[in-house]
């Protein structure tokens, strides 16, 4: 009796077999979910495709494990037997997928399923072993064989249970599923290598078996099997990645790690190929180098790329939040502004009624009793009448200020010459009395609210009349085309305004003179500004104190 052959394991291929096992486990868990959710034809399709993919994965893992085992004699494989083992793997997978996608699972079903599945896997394994063609005898240790079969059944049971548990988990990627996949993925090779340990190879010079279908497995073949496995199982996993639905930084991260994974797989397979072909010296060193480069890229991805992209992502969402907050604020502002306008309108409108009482009765008092009481009474009545009258004017002006926005009409073509003429007509008494010479140049037709245009001219002309110089007072209204707007001007040779008041005069209730010198509420120019702004324009003043003022306003050309 010859001493048994001592086999050794190729570390890289063993690692590869474990990786494939993990991928297959993840694919199984994922397929369980999909088949559970699928109905009709789609379910059958997923079941068939899934069984083939998973079976191929298990089989591939098994073969990688077989090939990792090196014997000091040449080994060939009988390919029909190999195909038979593949079919066994696919059958086991199909059973597993059917069991886990049933609506219910009880102990009996689970046990039956795991016996069938574990049996299928064991069949695949030992059929695969039978495919070996070599100048050696295989003897099996019954205890270890039994243990490996038991392991296959137990692992199947656990796998079925886990898959059934997590099949409702709608998320494609989860820590739970990943952890289960790793545990299952580690358990499958454990069974395989127990099975390998159960066999002892004794050299023999005679070849009993039929070699007509035997073929040796080259490293190219290993590479092909590896690649095919990655493509099939990777396809199942990647079909879960909905790139479009991911936020951009996540897409980048996913792409980065996917391409890194692909490069790694290709590089490792390439290395294997090189090593198996020629076994060049220093190839281990090269592999170590390559692995360290890949490791650096992986670490870089985890430590640099991921946080950076997460930061960018966070920044973008913060920006988005800020934008939304800003939008909310501006909506609130618009609303509160509208409410304020409504309030001003209602307030000034409703204030008029009681004020009319106050004013009317103080006036009636003055009318009936002026000169009939003492001098003090006359003075008091005078103040009351004056106050009430001024308040009426104020409220009327306030009302017309709020009406600019609340009661404005839509903008239509308006001949501003007509608007200006209407304003002059309204003021003709004041113009005649003051002796001001009013001249009007060529004025354009613009998109405007005719009533408001008249009011605008009337307020500006009224001011020019009010703040006139007594010597040869004159007012000139004109307009000229600027680049994108019409530039209107109302020019007088009146008392003028100090430059420091140029802005202030357009604000509400701002007055430069005492009521004794010039009457007024200080709303006129505020109304002017509001009208001009409603027309999308702006208004300002140019003036030299003592020489006159020019009020200018620009209205965009339609």
């Amino acid at each position: 009796m010859n001493p048994p052959l001592v086999g050794s394991y190729d570390d890289v291929l063993v690692a590869l077999s474990v990786v494939i096992a993990i991928m297959a486990a993840y694919a199984a868990l994922d397929l369980g979910r999909r088949i559970t959710f699928a109905r009709g034809w789609s379910r059958l399709l997923w079941l068939t495709g899934g069984a083939i993919a998973m079976g191929f994965g298990i089989w591939s893992m098994h073969y990688m494990g077989m090939l990792a085992f090196r014997l000091p004699v040449p080994v060939q494989y009988d390919w029909p037997t190999v195909v038979l083992s593949l079919i066994a793997a696919i059958a086991a997978s199909a059973i597993a997928l059917v069991v886990v996608s049933r609506p219910k699972m009880d102990l009996k079903r689970a046990l039956l399923g795991s016996v069938l599945m574990g049996g299928g896997i064991a069949t695949m394994h030992y059929t695969g072993m039978r495919a070996m063609r070599m100048p050696a005898m295989c003897t099996y240790s019954p205890g270890l064989v039994g243990l490996s079969v038991l392991l296959a059944i137990v692992i199947s049971l656990v796998a079925l249970w886990l898959t059934f548990r997590f099949r409702r988990d709608a998320a494609a990627w989860s820590w739970r599923r990943s952890t289960s996949a790793v545990i299952m993925g580690l358990a499958i090779p454990a069974m395989h290598y127990t099975g390998m340990a159960a066999v002892t190879f004794t050299p023999s010079t005679t070849m009993h078996e039929d070699l007509s279908h035997a073929t040796s497995v080259s490293s190219l073949g290993v590479t092909a099997i590896g690649l095919a496995t990655f493509v099939v199982l990777g396809g199942v996993l990647l079909s879960n990645l909905r790139f479009d639905s991911l936020p951009t930084p996540r897409q980048l991260i996913a792409r980065y790690f996917l391409s890194l994974g692909l490069i790694s797989v290709l590089a490792i397979l390439g290395m294997l190929l090189v090593e198996h072909q020629g076994g060049q010296t220093g190839s281990r060193l090269q592999m170590a180098l390559l692995l360290s480069v890949l490791g650096v890229l992986l670490v870089q991805g985890i430590l640099v790329l991921r946080p950076a992209l997460a930061n960018i992502h966070q920044g973008i969402s913060q920006l988005e939040l800020a934008k939304q907050a800003l939008q909310r604020k501006s909506e609130e502002l618009a609303r509160s502004n509208a409410e304020l306008e409504q309030f001003a309108y209602v307030a000034s409108h409703d204030l008029q009624e009681p004020l009319r009482m106050v004013a009317s009765y103080t006036q009636l008092l003055a009318r009936r009793y002026q000169g009939k009481l003492d001098r003090d009474a006359d003075e008091f009545i005078g103040f009351a009448v004056d106050g009430a009258t001024r308040m009426q004017t104020l409220i009327r002006d306030l009302l017309s200020y709020s009406r600019v926005m609340t009661q404005g009409r839509s903008l239509q073509p308006v001949d501003t010459r007509l608007a200006c003429d209407a304003a002059c007509e309204n003021l003709h008494k004041a113009i005649e009395e003051s002796g001001v010479a009013v001249s009007v140049g060529a004025l354009p037709v613009i998109q405007a609210d005719a009533t408001q245009m008249t009011q605008l001219f009337q307020n500006l002309l009224g001011n020019a009349l009010k703040y006139r110089n007594e010597q040869a007072p004159r007012i000139h209204v004109d307009a000229r085309a600027a680049e994108k707007s019409w530039l209107f001007s109302v020019q007088d040779n009146g008392i003028g305004i100090e430059p420091q008041y140029f802005e202030r005069i357009f604000q509400m209730f701002q007055r430069l003179h005492t009521r004794e010198t010039y009457s007024g509420t200080g709303i006129g120019l505020a109304i002017c500004r509001r009208i001009v702004e409603r027309h999308g324009g702006r208004i300002w003043v140019e003036s030299i104190p003592g020489q006159g003022s020019t009020f200018l306003f620009a209205i965009p050309r339609g």
């Binding site: 009624e353 009319r356 009482m357 004013a359 009317s360 009765y361 006036q363 009636l364 009318r367 009426q392």
Partner: protein
């Protein structure tokens, strides 16, 4: 009260306005008697001489505010103009409303004229004076007997 006193019914809920109108008529030249009721229901009861108004005189002129409690002036106007006994009495709508719709509606309900109350006292007095001049002096009103006989 003399028989050539002109009877005026003022439908006005604002006591200040009512008194002001009263004062304005006091300054007038025509001998008149002004009765004030404060809402639409009272106005119709007065005109139809119901309840406390059994002995009321049929007015020669009605001054009607539009915004009244209980029953609005618009409703009162519609009822008066639909009533054979009352529709010949001239109705002057005297209100603060400048609303074009109010004006159009009042005339379509056969109001005899529509006047917006001026804010200023002087103008208000002038308006009341005009009413007096026109309706109580210039215009020949339908004979009062023709209505009260009914």
């Amino acid at each position: 009260m003399s028989s050539n006193t002109i009877e005026i019914l003022l439908v006005e809920d604002n006591a200040g306005d009512a008194r002001l109108t009263l004062e304005a008529f006091k300054e007038g030249k025509v001998l008149n008697h002004l009765t004030v009721v404060q809402d639409g229901v009272q106005a119709l009861a007065y005109l139809r001489r119901q309840g406390p108004y059994v002995g009321a005189k049929v007015p020669d002129l009605i001054l009607l505010d539009l915004n009244l409690p209980r029953m609005s002036g618009r409703e009162v106007l519609a009822q008066i103009k639909a009533d054979e006994q009352l529709k010949t009495i001239p109705v002057v709508v005297l209100t603060t409303s400048e609303d074009a719709q109010d004006i159009a509606r009042a005339y379509s309900q056969h109001a005899n004229c529509y006047i917006t109350k001026p804010v200023d006292l002087e103008q208000f007095l002038r308006v009341i004076q005009s009413i007096e001049n026109f309706w109580l002096t210039l215009v020949r009103l339908p004979p009062n007997g023709a209505r009260s006989a009914g």
